[in-house]
Structures are given as structure tokens and as C-alpha cells.
């Protein structure tokens, strides 16, 4: 007989796996409140909230935070425009070499970050492009586009191709078809893709290291801070901020795409 209930061993293994994945995150939170600031001592000798105040006063945190927000925003906007256009082209037309091009589009996310970083760095130096905020944005956009593309192309496939023709058949011009039929059906997928892209860009380290020059984004600043012996819990306070800044959009994206599948005709 087939049983719908998992065995006890499987349950314990599953819980153990989840704990292994998520307990370290709780430790990050815990060390933000420790009174000991030179090493991560367990258990913490005492708890305090003073590090939130200290972090707020530290002036070197703000430029990396602003830079990270700015880079993530621009990279996401770029990705949403280009990713949507590419997915429309790939989903609605067929041409010679379409499968190969689809692979090329997805490649940046499959490629190790060091490869992307190295190749971009050498390309920038060959073209004599000085490192700046824009080189970071370009680096991030390479994989952000893929995130948006993947979300959009999946939604395009699920859309019945006939609805765009039906719209034209009923007298709508291409702008009206885009505005009233395509966008409402694509909207949640694009938003979800955008949120994921934002989260991915916000905590990216590897590609940023290769393309940033003298500037630091927030994750890179954190990496540098960990090496120093003083005021370590400040880094943990920032980690909580990063966690919130990336987790909330991902959560929203999750609920958006879930709702999207219902409107796309999954039934009651």
C-alpha cells in the first residue's frame, strides 16, 4: 500500500536539513546584539542594542548602502526592459538558431561569477572604459536580465497565443493589445522577476569585485569589515538590513507569481 505519510526518519532528516540551512542565519541576528566586539564568542557574554546606534553613527556605511541601492535599481530597470523585449522575441517568433540564442541569453547565470567578472574586466580595459558605478551596473545587468527573461518567457508560454490575435481581431491596435492584454498578463511575472533581480544585485559580490574599481557596494564593505577586529557586531547589524532588503522582495515575488498562476486559468 502506498502511504501518504512520511516515515519518522525522513521527517527528522528533513527537519535537520532545514535547521542546518537556517540556524546560521539566526546566529547572524544573535551576534548583532552581543557585547563582545572583537571575536564571535559563543555564547555571547551579554546582550545589548548599542550596535544599532553605533551603526547609524558610522559614516562609512552610508556610501556603500546608497551605491548598492542605486546599482540594484538601475540594473533592475535595465533588466526589466531588455528582459521583456528578449522574452517577447523568443516566445512569439521562431527563427534559425533560436535555441542557440536562448542558451546564450541564459548563459550569464549559469556561468561562474568569476568568469563573468574576469571577462567584463578585461573587456572594459580593452575598450578603455574606466571603472565606475556604470561598470558595476553593466556587470549586474548581465545576470539580472536572465532573471527577468526567465520569468517573462515562462509566462509568455503559458499565455494562450491566441489572445493577442483575438485582441487585434476585435479592433485593438498594437499599443492597446500591449496595454490591455499583454501587460496585465505579464505584469506579475515582470514584477516578480524585477524583485528577484533587485535582490540578486543587492548582495552580489563576485562580479562586483571585478568591475567596481575603488568603490564598495554594501556586501563588499561587509567583507572588508569582517577582516578588521573592531566593532564586529556593526557588520551583523548591516547584515540584518541586507537580509531584510533582499528577503522582503523575494517574498513578495513569491506571492505575486503564485497569484499569477491563478489568474492565468488554474481554475477555482
Amino acid at each position: 500500500m502506498h502511504s501518504d505519510r512520511a516515515s519518522l526518519g525522513l521527517k527528522i532528516a528533513a527537519v535537520g536539513g532545514l535547521l542546518f540551512l537556517h540556524l546560521p542565519i539566526l546566529l547572524i541576528f544573535l551576534y548583532a546584539f552581543t557585547t563582545e566586539d572583537k571575536s564571535y564568542q559563543f555564547p555571547p557574554p551579554g546582550l545589548t542594542t548599542q550596535w544599532f546606534g553605533v551603526a547609524w553613527e558610522r559614516e562609512d556605511i552610508w556610501p556603500p548602502l546608497y551605491l548598492s541601492l542605486w546599482v540594484a535599481t538601475i540594473a533592475t530597470v535595465l533588466a526589466m526592459i531588455l528582459g521583456t523585449l528578449v522574452s517577447a522575441a523568443m516566445a512569439r517568433t521562431s527563427f534559425f538558431g533560436r535555441e542557440q540564442i536562448s542558451l546564450l541569453i541564459i548563459l550569464p547565470i549559469a556561468l561562474p561569477g568569476v568568469i563573468t567578472g574576469m571577462s567584463l574586466r578585461s573587456a572594459f580595459s580593452i575598450m578603455d572604459i574606466p571603472f565606475s558605478t556604470w561598470t558595476i551596473i553593466l556587470g549586474h545587468a548581465t545576470f539580472c536580465i536572465v532573471i527577468v527573461y526567465n520569468n517573462a518567457v515562462a509566462r509568455f508560454r503559458r499565455l494562450s497565443g491566441g489572445i493577442l490575435e483575438a485582441s487585434a481581431d476585435l479592433g485593438a491596435n498594437s499599443f492597446q493589445t500591449f496595454r490591455y492584454v499583454l501587460l496585465p498578463n505579464l505584469g506579475t511575472a515582470l514584477l516578480a522577476g524585477g524583485m528577484l533581480a533587485f535582490a540578486l544585485s543587492f548582495d552580489e559580490v563576485i562580479v562586483t569585485t571585478f568591475t567596481a574599481g575603488q568603490q564598495s557596494t554594501l556586501p563588499i564593505w561587509m567583507l572588508q569589515e569582517l577582516v578588521r577586529p573592531r566593532q564586529r557586531p556593526v557588520t551583523n547589524v548591516v547584515a540584518i538590513v541586507v537580509f531584510t532588503a533582499t528577503f522582503v522582495p523575494i517574498l513578495i515575488a513569491y506571492y505575486l507569481t503564485r497569484g499569477g498562476s491563478e489568474t492565468a486559468g488554474a481554475g477555482k
Partner: protein, 335 residues
């Protein structure tokens, strides 16, 4: 009578010019205004491409298409006064039924009040009053079909195109919808162009029909004409699966040395002795309203329809076949 749609030597070829795929090849066609016109053919015969040529989603590679006398070569789909009921209905999943039906008016800039009133009128026309607030996903197949119909009719098209609209429905619903479509068409007086691969559907609904084969029209005429006097072997076999007899057999059956068609229901099964045509029963298929006998005679397999209530012979039995000489239709066309 004016022509609603005219095809003049229309072709639609795909692929390279050196080896084109001729989806539609030199079709001449006239569809009378206010008629119920069926395009009948197996899949890949070009009937759907013809429909898409009328709606404007395909452009002809040769020839001219006129809709009410106007050459539509340069007119895109959204500016043709023609609407389509799509095969998969293609309802907008994110809109409720009312907004789906009112869509054609919305893109024209009609205000919401008028739009909603018109949408309700259309929904009552297709017997879906009170369904305006539902989403397409909450409807059954037959209801979606009606919404698609209401949506296509809201713009008051001069020609309504229907692409296998009943294909996804079960038999009972299909028959009910056939009657309703026919009634709707005669009430509205709009020209309906109906694509189907179901010959029964085409025969029972159409005022006239075109039988498509390999991108060309094999025959065009009223259902009675096409059924009684198929022009080619293909038409005889596809419409009502007739007995297609080669020239020698036609001669043996008392006709000239030409291909001919003999409908199974025109053959009477008699006792074997004393008749000119006798053969062996090789198969019996029970159809409910009768049985279909396969009889081997003169080296040809001939099908005969045996009405219910008559004694059914055993397989292997020898039977006689008789028919009215006028039932033997000699075909003029080739192929």
C-alpha cells in the same frame, strides 16, 4: 446577391520560393452575403489558412481578396470588419466575462455604461445572462464557447469567422450548439464562414460549402449537390465516405468506363440467387441505426448500409446487391 468575400486566384505559400509549401494554391471563391458557408477538409488542406487570410492574420502571396467589394490586401486585422471565434476561444484570462465581451467596444473608445449594456445584450443573445462577473476559468467549455461568440458579435461584424468552434465540445453539446449557431445566423443575417473537418457538421449546417484538398478547392456547391454529385474521388470519399469505384468496376456495375461514386445507403442487400451482382460479406460494423456491410465483389470492397430491422447476414455469406441506376454517379474530375 452581393459577395461578402471573394478570392481571386489566391495563394499562400510558405518557405523558400524554390520549394514552397503551398498551404493555399490558386483558390477562387465567392461567399454570398448572409449565407452560412462551410470550409471542409482534412487537417492541412488549407481551410484554416483561408480563414486567416480573410481575418488578415495571413497575407496572400498571390491573388486578391475582396470583402464586400473592397480589396483588403493592405488592411490589417484590426481594421477589418470581420471577427473570429477562435478554435481555443482565446478569451482574455484576466478579464471577467463582461469585459471580455465588451473588449471590442472598449478599444473603440465606447464608454463603460454603453459597453456594459451591450455586453449584457450579447450575453443574453447567447443565453448567458448573469454570467458577466465570472472569470473564463470558472466557465465550462460550452460556456466559454458562447462567450467567445458574444465577444466576436459585439462589434456587429459583416462576416463572422468560426475556426472549428465546436471541436472541443462533447457530442451532445455539439449538436445543441449546431442548431443554435444556425438559428443565430439566420436571425442576425450575418455571413458566417465556418471551418470544420467534420463533414456531417458541414452538410447539416451550411448553405454552401467548399471541400478543400491540398490547398485547392476540390468542389464547391450546396451540401446536397456535393453529396449527390461529388466531382472527384477525394470528395466522394471525404464527404460521406462513398464507394469510389474504378472504371472497370463502374463498367461491371452498368456504367461507362470511368470513375464513379455509389453511396452505401443506395445499395440494397438482397438474396444471392438470380441477381447480376453478388459478393461475399467480409465485415459487419454495427452502427446503431443500422449496420455497415463490407462486401467483396469483382475484386473490390463495396460498403452497403443495411437499415435496422433487416436480417443481418453472417460474415462469409454470399449476398446480392441491387441499386437504382441513377444512384451511380459518374465523376468528371480527376484525383
Amino acid at each position: 446577391m452581393t459577395a461578402a468575400v471573394e478570392f481571386l486566384r489566391v495563394s499562400r505559400h510558405f518557405g523558400p520560393a524554390s520549394a514552397p509549401v503551398k498551404a493555399v494554391d490558386g483558390v477562387d471563391l465567392t461567399i454570398a452575403e448572409g449565407s452560412f458557408f462551410a470550409m471542409l477538409g482534412p487537417s492541412g488542406s488549407g481551410k484554416t489558412t483561408c480563414l486567416r487570410l480573410i481575418s488578415g492574420f495571413e497575407k496572400p502571396t498571390g491573388g486578391t481578396i475582396r470583402i464586400f467589394g473592397q480589396d483588403v490586401g493592405d488592411i490589417p486585422p484590426n481594421r477589418r470588419n470581420v471577427n473570429t471565434v477562435f478554435q481555443d476561444y482565446a478569451l482574455f484570462p484576466h478579464m471577467n466575462v463582461r469585459d471580455n465581451v465588451g473588449y471590442g467596444l472598449m478599444v473603440k473608445g465606447v464608454d463603460r455604461r454603453t459597453r456594459d449594456t451591450r455586453a449584457e445584450e450579447m450575453l443574453s443573445l447567447v443565453k448567458l445572462e448573469g454570467y458577466g462577473d465570472r472569470k473564463p476559468a470558472q466557465l465550462s467549455g460550452g460556456q466559454r464557447q458562447r462567450v467567445a461568440l458574444a465577444r466576436a458579435l459585439v462589434n456587429e461584424p459583416k462576416v463572422l469567422l468560426l475556426d472549428e468552434p465546436l471541436g472541443a465540445l462533447d457530442l451532445k453539446l455539439r449538436e445543441a450548439m449546431q442548431d443554435e449557431l444556425k438559428a443565430l445566423q439566420s436571425r442576425l443575417g450575418i455571413t458566417f464562414v465556418f471551418v470544420t473537418h467534420d463533414q456531417g457538421e458541414a452538410l447539416s449546417m451550411a448553405d454552401s460549402l467548399a471541400v478543400f484538398n491540398e490547398g485547392k478547392i476540390a468542389q464547391i456547391g450546396t451540401p446536397a449537390e456535393v453529396y449527390a454529385r461529388p466531382r472527384t474521388r477525394f470528395v466522394a470519399d471525404f464527404v460521406g465516405s462513398s464507394n469510389v469505384l474504378p472504371p472497370e468496376v463502374t463498367r461491371a456495375f452498368g456504367g461507362p468506363l470511368k470513375w464513379s461514386s455509389l453511396r452505401p445507403e443506395m445499395l440494397r442487400v438482397t438474396a444471392a440467387d438470380g441477381v447480376a451482382l453478388a459478393g461475399t460479406v467480409t465485415g459487419i460494423r454495427y452502427l446503431g441505426a443500422g449496420s455497415r456491410l463490407s462486401v467483396a465483389l469483382n475484386g473490390t470492397e463495396v460498403a452497403a448500409l443495411l437499415p435496422a430491422g433487416q436480417p443481418v447476414p453472417e460474415p462469409g455469406a454470399t449476398v446480392g446487391l441491387a441499386f437504382d441506376p441513377s444512384a451511380l454517379h459518374v465523376m468528371e474530375g480527376e484525383g
